[in-house]
Point group: C2
Chain length 384, copies 2
C-alpha cells in the first residue's frame, strides 16, 4: 500500500464485475434474463467463510465503500469512516463485500444498461426494483462468493432497510443485522419528498419519458433539483445553521435572485455535481424502492410478526437530529423486535448532523459500532 | 346579505383598486414611479378611525381575506376562519383592511403588470421587494384611508413578519401587533427550501429569464414543483400521516412511477392548481422577501435593540408542530421583546397541522385570538 494513503485505510481497491446468467424473478412480476453486479471486497475471507460482512448502500451509494481507486483519488469510498484496518468494520478481521445494487448506475445492470432484447438502453423499460429484489440478488452474490452465512449485514438509511430485509427473508443466512438511521417504512412526508424529486426529473423536458440517452441528453435540471431537495432532508436545521447560518456570499444584500446566501451556493454546487454523475432513471428507481419498503405488509401490517421471522441479533442505531428517519422510526422497529423477543441493542446517538450522521465520524457512534463488531469478531475467532 | 352565506361571514365583498401616483423609493435602491394596490375592506371605520385593523398576507396570499366574491363562490377568503361577525377579528367592531402586496399577482402592481417605461410586462425588471417596502406601502395606504393609527396590524407567517416590521418602523402608527406563526429571520434550512423553489422556476425552459409572458408561456412545471416543496413544509409529518398515511390510490402496488400513494396525488393536484393561478416572478419575489427579512440587522444583529423601537403591545402565537417556523422562532422573538421591556402575550398552540395551523380553526387558537381582539375593541369602545 503506498504511503500516501492513511494507515487505517484499506488503500487501493479495484472493483470487479460479476455476471449472473440466470433469470431473476422480481417482486413486480417481471423477470430479468441476466445481469451484472459490480463488487468491491476488502480484507480476507477466512477458512470457513464465517467472517464475511455485507455492506448495503443507500440511495446514491455504490460498491465503492472504502479505500481509493487510484493514487490521485481525492476522496475515499463513502463509508471509509467505518471500514478499514482498526475501524469499526475492521478489515484485519472481516471480509467485507459491497456491491452496486441492481438498477444502479455505477456498473451494475440498471436502466442505463443495454437491454439485450432491443439493443438499446433499458431506460424506462427497466423493471421497478424493490428492497426484496436486492436482498435476493445479494443472496445470489453470497452463493457466488461461497458465503453461506454472513457474519453481519450492515447499512445506513436505505442500506439499513436491506439489512432488515435480510433478517426477515433469509433468517439462516446472517448472524447479525446492523440497521442504522433506517426505518421500517416511509411516512407520507418521506414519500412526498421523494415524489417532488421524481416529479422534478420526469417533468424536465430533457427526460423524454425516460429515453433521454437515446436523445443524447439527460434531465440534469430535474436531477439537480431532486438532489437539492434530498440534501436538505439529509442535513438538520441545526447543522445547516452551524454550517451556513445566514452568511452572505458577498457580504451585502444584492437584491436579486442569483446566489445571495452561502447555503444557496452550497446547494446548487451539490445539485450540479450530482446531476453530472448520476442516472435519472436510477434515481427514480431508488426512491420508489424506498417508498415501497414495508416488511410488515406481508404480515398483516404487523411489524412484530415480520420480525418474528428473524433469527439474527440486531444493532439498531439512530441519530438525534435525523428528521428524515427520526429516532422514532428506529424506536418503532426496536419495539417490534422486542415484542418478537429478538435480541436487539439500540442506541440513539446524539448528533447535530441529521440523517448524514451515519456517514460521519462521531465518537460515540464509532465506539458503539466498533464494540458491536468486535463482539461479532469474537464469535468467529472463538469458533475457528 | 343572501342567506346562502353563513351568518358569521362578511358575505359578498368587492375588491377595489387604488392608484398611488407618487414615486416609491425601495430598499433595493430603485424607485417605482407609481403603482396600484387592490384592497378589500370589511366592517365600518368608526368616527375617530380608531377601529382599523390591517391584515397582511403571506407568500401566496392576497387581498381577499374574508367573505365571497360571488354567490357561486365555493370558497371564502383565506382567513375567513378568523375574520367576520363574531369571529376573532369581529367585523361588527373592527374595520378590516387587506391588500394584495406590491409585487403580487392578484391585481396590485407586480412583475406581470405593464412597465410604463417599456409598454411591456415588467417581468424580471420588476424590483426586488422587501418586507420594509410593504410596510411603507401599507403606511401610504393608511394615509389614503385616513387611518393615522391602526388598532392592530395582524398576520401569519410572512404576514406576521410585516406586523413585526410595522411595530419597529412605525411605532406610533399601531397599538397592537399580532405576529402569528412567524419568525424574526429565516434559518439556513428555510432559505434552502426557498432556493429549491426558485431554482425549480428559473431552470424551467419556459421561464425565459423571467420574460415568459412575452413568449406567451409560463414556467408551470417549475411553479408546480415550487408549490409541492412548499406544501410539504406547510404541513407536519404527523398531519400528513393522519391525512394520507401510506394509503395507496389503487389498493395494490403498481410498480411504476405514476401516482401510487394518495399523498402523491394530493401534492400533484395542489401543485398543478397553484401553477395555473400564480405568477412565477411573484413567487420568486415573495420568497426573496422572506429570505431578506431580518429586522435585527439594522441594529447590530441585536433583536432586542430592534424591538426597543416598538411602542405597541404584541400578541405572538406559534403552533407546536410547525417546523417551517417552529415555536423556537417565536420564543426568540418573545425573549427579545421581553429584553426590550415590551408588553407581549405569547402562546404556543398545540396543533398537529404544522405551519398551516394559523389558517385553520382550532379551539384554543380562536379563543385566545378572540380574547385578545376583544381587549383591543374594549380600548376604543371606552375611548369613544
Amino acid at each position: 500500500m503506498p504511503e500516501i494513503f492513511p494507515s487505517d485505510s484499506v488503500g487501493l481497491v479495484e472493483p470487479r464485475t460479476l455476471h449472473f446468467p440466470d433469470p431473476l424473478k422480481l417482486a413486480c412480476g417481471r423477470e430479468l434474463p441476466a445481469y451484472d453486479l459490480v463488487v468491491e471486497t476488502y480484507g480476507t475471507l477466512n477458512q470457513d467463510a464465517s467472517n464475511a460482512v455485507l455492506i448495503c448502500h443507500a440511495l446514491s451509494g455504490h460498491h465503492h465503500a472504502a479505500g481509493y481507486h487510484s493514487e490521485e483519488d481525492q476522496k475515499p469510498g463513502w463509508w471509509d469512516n467505518c471500514i478499514g484496518p482498526g475501524k469499526p468494520i475492521d478489515t484485519n478481521k472481516f471480509f467485507v463485500v459491497c456491491l452496486n445494487n441492481l438498477g444502479g448506475c455505477h456498473g451494475s445492470t440498471g436502466p442505463s444498461s443495454i437491454n439485450p432484447e432491443t439493443g438499446r438502453p433499458y431506460g424506462p423499460d427497466f423493471p421497478v426494483i424493490t428492497v426484496r429484489d436486492w436482498t435476493n440478488v445479494q443472496a445470489r452474490l453470497a452463493d457466488r462468493l461461497g458465503i453461506d452465512q454472513w457474519a453481519a449485514v450492515a447499512g445506513g438509511s436505505l442500506g439499513g432497510m436491506q439489512a432488515l430485509d435480510w433478517a426477515i427473508t433469509y433468517p439462516d443466512r446472517l448472524r447479525h443485522a446492523l440497521v442504522i438511521a433506517a426505518t421500517p417504512k416511509l411516512t407520507a412526508q418521506n414519500i412526498a419528498f421523494n415524489e417532488v424529486a421524481r416529479r422534478a426529473i420526469t417533468s424536465d423536458p430533457d427526460f423524454h419519458g425516460g429515453r433521454y440517452q437515446e436523445h443524447g441528453t439527460a434531465p440534469q435540471r430535474g436531477l439537480m433539483l431532486a438532489r437539492m431537495v434530498g440534501h436538505i432532508t439529509y442535513l438538520s436545521d441545526v447543522s445547516m445553521g452551524e454550517k451556513f447560518g445566514r452568511e452572505l456570499r458577498d457580504h451585502a444584500y444584492k437584491y436579486g435572485f442569483d446566489v445571495e446566501f452561502q447555503v444557496e451556493s452550497y446547494l446548487r454546487y451539490q445539485g450540479e455535481k450530482f446531476s453530472e454523475n448520476f442516472d435519472a432513471n436510477t434515481y427514480l428507481l431508488m426512491t420508489r424502492a424506498l417508498d415501497y419498503f414495508n416488511p410488515a405488509r406481508e404480515y398483516g401490517n404487523d411489524l412484530s410478526q415480520a420480525m418474528a421471522q428473524a433469527k439474527c441479533r440486531f444493532l439498531v442505531m439512530s441519530f438525534s437530529s435525523d428528521w428524515r428517519f427520526a429516532p422514532e422510526h428506529s424506536q418503532k422497529l426496536v419495539n417490534a423486535m422486542v415484542d418478537a423477543r429478538r435480541d436487539v441493542s439500540y442506541s440513539e446517538i446524539d448528533s447535530p448532523w441529521g440523517h448524514d450522521a451515519f456517514l460521519l465520524p462521531n465518537e460515540r457512534y464509532i465506539r458503539l459500532f466498533r464494540a458491536y463488531m468486535n463482539r461479532i469478531a469474537g464469535e468467529f475467532t472463538d469458533a475457528r
